[in-house]
Structures are given as structure tokens and as C-alpha cells.
């Protein structure tokens, strides 16, 4: 597990560095069977992932409505994107959403993981509870939250009325709708972050804590001086997968707000969806998804610098 974990982390992190050389074999047919065995996967990933990525890039320089042939228009789509206030809003919303569901949620997840790393009797139960939303469909979860946020009969307003706080039309109010969507995303995503931290904590050497205790270090001191630095590789891994996840938020927007009210909760993905499948502007949608990808890549590199900074 330890080995597997490290390897997965490392390879995803440093895309493509070979962890271990597979055995070299000099056979009669020089591993022709290998090529045959990998061929279906290569064809599938090639057709449904590699070609589409390249096609997205190419289409982003065209005006294309599916019915007529694509027309080359150079960087016009990109020019339009950068002057489009809705897409700017969507980009900002995506960044705000990412901030709360990634670094903020990661801090909470790390604390929960450390708490669960104690020998508590109910440990397994807690872990199951925190992880449960992760395995259930986002659409189903969003449906439940839609009901919880319901202004007339919703659970949230009922709970608030007990303590005398007036209820809100959470999803219809431009000020509250984005926080409401973020809460659902954070609630659903905390489990996976916690889980990876729990796995990483198994590898932290107990003797470090014992040594620190002998030196009289407080629990908080030990957390910041030992736990946080030792979890750095895991933090990097969690950060990358969480950013990728957060940038692709779509299902809960579709169910909860449809991007509204007044674009308060629209996301980059939602704009791609609207351009492509509501307005049939395939070129524009492609350009928007290229911008999404580039921003995602930039965030990943920044994340890499922040979490790996002083290692290099």
C-alpha cells in the first residue's frame, strides 16, 4: 500500500517519471503480444480522448454550428471570451468555488484525518460517515440539498427559525446562492481528501511524536512541526485531484441553480455546456474549454509550487 501510494502520487505528480523498470525480456517475437494487448486501449483512448483534445484546440479557432462546415476565424473566439462579462463572472465563480472546496476544505479534512488517526472506538464509523457523500451521485445529492434549501418547507430554514434567524431563499438570492452551492461541494468532497490524509498518516513515523513529547512539545506544536510537513506529498496529491474536481463542477449547478440567479453561480463548465449544447456554438465552446484547461494547468503549477516549494 505504502509503495503503491507513493508510486501513484509520484507518477501523477511528476507526470511520466518511470518508477521502476519493468522486466526486460528478449523473446522470439520481442513482445508482439504486448502490442496486441495494449492495442484496444490505445485505439479507445486515442479516439475518445487524444483526438478530441486536439480537435478541441483546432475547433477553438473556428465558428461552427454543427450544421454548416466549421469556418476558420482565428483568435476571434478568444477575443470574445475575454470581453464577455458572463464568462468573466463564470471564471471568477469557478475560482471562488475552488478556493472554498479545495484549500479551505483540505485544512478541515486534514484536521479530521488527524482526529481519526487516534485510536477511537468509533473510528471506522466516523470514516464511513465522512466518506459516504463521495460515493453517491452528485445529482442525487444536489436533489436532496435542493429540498433542504427550499425556502418554504426546507430543513435549513426550519433549523434557523429555532434559533430565531430568519430564513432565506438560499438559491434564489444572488448573495447566498454561490455560498449555498459551495457548501454542497465542500460537504461532498471532504471525504476523499480526508481518506488520502488518513492513508498518508499511516506512514508518519510514531517515534517523531514520541521524541517531540519528550522535548515537551504541545499537541498544536506537534501538528504544525511534524504532521503538516510529513503530509506534504499527500497534500500535493490531494490538491491536484481536488483542483481538477473543483474546476469541473457541473452537476450541482445544473440541479440547484441552472447558473442563476443572474449568473451568480454559473461556472466555466456551465458556460461550455451552454455554448455547445444550448447555443450550438461549438467553436466558442471549444475555446472556452481551452481557457478552462489552461487555467486548470496554471492552478496545478501554482499548487505544485506552493506545496512543494522548499523541496527544490
Amino acid at each position: 500500500m505504502t509503495q503503491l501510494d507513493n508510486r501513484a502520487t509520484e507518477v501523477v505528480a511528476v507526470a511520466g517519471r518511470q518508477p521502476r523498470k519493468p522486466p526486460v525480456r528478449r523473446g522470439r517475437n520481442k513482445g508482439r503480444m504486448g502490442l496486441i494487448m495494449v492495442a484496444p486501449a490505445v485505439l479507445h483512448i486515442g479516439l475518445w480522448t487524444a483526438i478530441p483534445v486536439l480537435a478541441t484546440l483546432a475547433l477553438s479557432f473556428t465558428d461552427y454550428d454543427i450544421f454548416d462546415l466549421p469556418a476558420w476565424i482565428g483568435i476571434e473566439n478568444y477575443v470574445e471570451i475575454f470581453s464577455d462579462p458572463v464568462f468573466r463572472q463564470a471564471t471568477w465563480n469557478t475560482l471562488v468555488y475552488t478556493f472554498w472546496t479545495v484549500p479551505a476544505s483540505m485544512a478541515i479534512a486534514m484536521i479530521i484525518a488527524v482526529a481519526l488517526n487516534q485510536n477511537l472506538k468509533l473510528r471506522t464509523w466516523f470514516r464511513t460517515a465522512f466518506f459516504l457523500p463521495q460515493v453517491t451521485a452528485t445529482v442525487a445529492i444536489a436533489m436532496v440539498w435542493l429540498w433542504i434549501y427550499n425556502p418554504q418547507q426546507g430543513l435549513l430554514n426550519a433549523a434557523l427559525s429555532i434559533v430565531g434567524i430568519p430564513g432565506q431563499a438560499w438559491l434564489a438570492d444572488p448573495a447566498w446562492s454561490l455560498p449555498a452551492v459551495i457548501l454542497v461541494g465542500a460537504w461532498q468532497g471532504i471525504g476523499i481528501k480526508m481518506l488520502i490524509y488518513i492513508a498518508a498518516l499511516q506512514n508518519v513515523d510514531e517515534s517523531l511524536y514520541e521524541a517531540a513529547s519528550v522535548d515537551g512539545a504541545s499537541t498544536i506544536r506537534k501538528f504544525f512541526a511534524i504532521t503538516v510537513p510529513m503530509l506534504k506529498p499527500a497534500t500535493f496529491f490531494v490538491l491536484i485531484i481536488s483542483i481538477i474536481g473543483a474546476f469541473q463542477v457541473f452537476d450541482q449547478i445544473y440541479v440547484l441553480t441552472d447558473g442563476g440567479p443572474a449568473n451568480a453561480t454559473t461556472m466555466m463548465t456551465y458556460e461550455v455546456y451552454r455554448s455547445a449544447f444550448q447555443n450550438f456554438e461549438m467553436g466558442m465552446a471549444s475555446a472556452q474549454s481551452v481557457v478552462l484547461f489552461v487555467l486548470l494547468l496554471a492552478m496545478t503549477l501554482i499548487g505544485r509550487r506552493v506545496t512543494k516549494g522548499d523541496d527544490e
Partner: protein, 319 residues
């Protein structure tokens, strides 16, 4: 597989360092123990509140699905139903064809799982253990594909489906018809394999010892039989892990089925729920009954196969 054991090892272990350290019953240590006990109580309470927050929406979903419309209209809402309306479930099944959606989701998820187990494991094995020309290049290609977000490929994927030659009334150039739109092909083929699954399988095969292969080769087995008869039976836990992750992702997928199908008889459960909510948004008892039906299979699968899920998520992480 030792991989699972590590995660569960701590659950089984008795209160190790805590109880061991307090052996000599001197007075400072009793105080320390009491302090520790207090801290533990606070920790348990805090975690319980957290865990309840995670569970409550699910409980609320089930409770809502068992209330009458009149009761749902009340404010403040009742917590437990006054009358447990079990008939909501058969009525929900009549209000929308949830049983059909359920079946469709199952067919698609099962197909994706089978395709992934066969082809991703084959590819993963070849990349891990067979030395062939171009292997490094292909592996790097797969790794590059790991990071590609759905939205960077969704438009051309849709176009590929729409213009699939010789299907759905299309001519050889893919013109004139609907291609794979509104067909099982579109629902099953494009999502059948993922670079993540191939990558995971490669890792699992790499972790096995090489001696087995040498012994098998002395017995005259070829590459394919070594893969199928020697190595693959050894990674059964990994097969379970990848199978569960694939099934789960496929069952929960929403965007792709939403894009490629409009026919009611091809709808999957997640899209069916969203459509039902748009058409009949006020029938919360039926909607929550449908949501419960969409959620329960994954929850049960997770509860019974937790260790495989956990292993998979900690290794792959990518949802």
C-alpha cells in the same frame, strides 16, 4: 493484498500507546490520563457532530420520501413522518419510469465495468510486464491523458457520436442522420475505458514479483496465458477495486447521458431524476423516493465493499 490491511490494521488494534503508557499508577500519570480522557471525549463529540452533518441529508431524504404531501407542506416541518407513507414508492414508480431508468443505469454501469476489467487490465499488464517497442511512448501518452478534464474533450466526443459513419442514418462520411445519438452505443462505448483504470492496473501488476513469470515461461506459457492464468488471478482485490470504482463512476455519471440521449426509454437514473424534478418539481415525496432509489445501490455497495473503495480512492483519487 497487503494494501487493504494497512488501512484496517489500526481499527483492529487495541488502545496501543494510550493504555500502555499509563502502566505505573502514580498520581501525575492519573491526572494525565484524565486529561487525555477528557480530550478524547471532546474529540468524540466533535467528530460525532461532523459525522451527523454528513449523514443527516441522507436521513432527511429517506424521511421525506415517506411523508404525505400535506405533511410536507407544514412549516416547521416534522422530523419523523406522522404516517409512514410506504405507498409513495410504488406511486413514484408510476409517476416516472424509475424502474426503467434504474435498469438502463445498471446495463451501462455493468457494461463499462466489464469492458474496463478486460481491456484496461490487458493494457495495464502489457505496459507493466511485457517489453515491446513503443511501450514507453504509449505509457507516457496514457499518463498525459490522466489529467485531461472532461470538458476539454466533450465537444468533439459529442461530434464523433453525432457523425459516426453508417449509423443512425448517417452515410459513410457521417452526414445525413443522427449517428450514435439516442443509442446504446453512445451510452456504452465512449465511457467504456479510462486512462485512470489502465494506470491503476499497471501499478497493480508492477507490484507482483517477477519470478512467477520466469517459472511460467519455463513451463512454456506465452505472454497472454501468463497474464490470464498466472498474474490476473493474483490481483483479484485490485480487480474488485477497479470494478467498483468504474461501476460507481458510471452509475453516477450525468453529463454524458444527458447530452447523447433524449429518448425516455434510454434515460439513466440520474438524468431521469433531473428531468422528473424539472417536470414535476413540487412532488417532493416522489422526488425523494426516486433519489433514495438512485442512492441506495451505491450506499449499499460502499458499505459492503468499503475496503476496496477506500483502496481505490486513495490510489486513484480522481473522480
Amino acid at each position: 493484498m497487503t494494501a487493504n490491511d494497512l488501512l484496517t490494521a489500526r481499527d483492529a488494534a487495541p488502545d496501543g500507546p494510550a493504555s500502555g503508557a499509563t502502566a505505573p499508577p502514580a498520581s501525575p500519570s492519573t491526572r494525565a490520563r484524565r486529561k487525555k480522557w477528557k480530550g478524547r471525549l471532546v474529540l468524540n463529540i466533535a467528530l460525532s457532530i461532523g459525522a451527523l452533518t454528513m449523514i443527516l441529508p441522507f436521513v432527511w431524504m429517506v424521511l421525506t420520501s415517506l411523508k404525505s404531501p400535506a405533511e410536507l407542506a407544514e412549516f416547521p416541518p416534522t422530523f419523523l413522518p406522522k404516517v409512514w407513507e410506504w405507498s409513495n414508492y410504488p406511486e413514484a414508480l408510476r409517476a416516472a419510469p424509475f424502474a426503467l431508468y434504474f435498469r438502463n443505469s445498471f446495463i451501462i454501469s455493468a457494461s463499462h465495468t466489464i469492458i474496463t476489467l478486460v481491456f484496461a487490465s490487458m493494457a495495464g499488464y502489457a505496459l507493466a510486464r511485457i517489453n515491446f517497442k513503443g511501450r514507453e511512448f504509449i505509457f507516457l501518452g496514457f499518463v498525459a491523458m490522466l489529467m485531461i478534464p472532461t470538458y476539454t474533450k466533450i465537444v468533439p466526443q459529442f461530434l464523433l457520436v453525432k457523425f459516426m459513419p453508417l449509423f443512425g442514418g448517417n452515410d459513410i462520411l457521417g452526414q445525413g442522420g443522427f449517428g450514435w445519438l439516442n443509442s446504446w452505443w453512445a451510452l456504452i462505448i465512449p465511457g467504456g475505458l479510462s486512462a485512470t483504470a489502465i494506470f491503476l492496473f499497471r501499478q497493480f501488476y508492477l507490484s507482483l514479483p517477477r519470478e512467477l513469470e520466469e517459472a511460467a515461461r519455463l513451463d512454456g506459457l506465452g505472454d497472454f496465458r501468463i497474464y490470464a492464468q498466472i498474474y490476473t488471478p493474483l490481483i483479484k482485490p485490485a480487480l474488485a477495486t477497479v470494478a467498483l470504482l468504474t461501476f460507481q463512476e458510471s452509475w453516477n455519471n450525468f453529463l454524458w447521458p444527458l447530452l447523447v440521449t433524449t429518448r425516455d426509454d434510454l434515460r439513466v437514473i440520474q438524468v431521469g431524476l433531473a428531468v422528473f424534478q424539472q417536470l414535476d418539481g413540487t412532488a417532493w415525496q416522489y422526488l425523494m423516493a426516486g433519489t433514495t432509489m438512485a442512492t441506495v445501490p451505491m450506499v449499499l455497495l460502499f458499505l459492503f465493499c468499503q475496503k476496496y473503495f477506500i483502496q481505490g480512492f486513495t490510489n486513484a483519487g480522481i473522480k
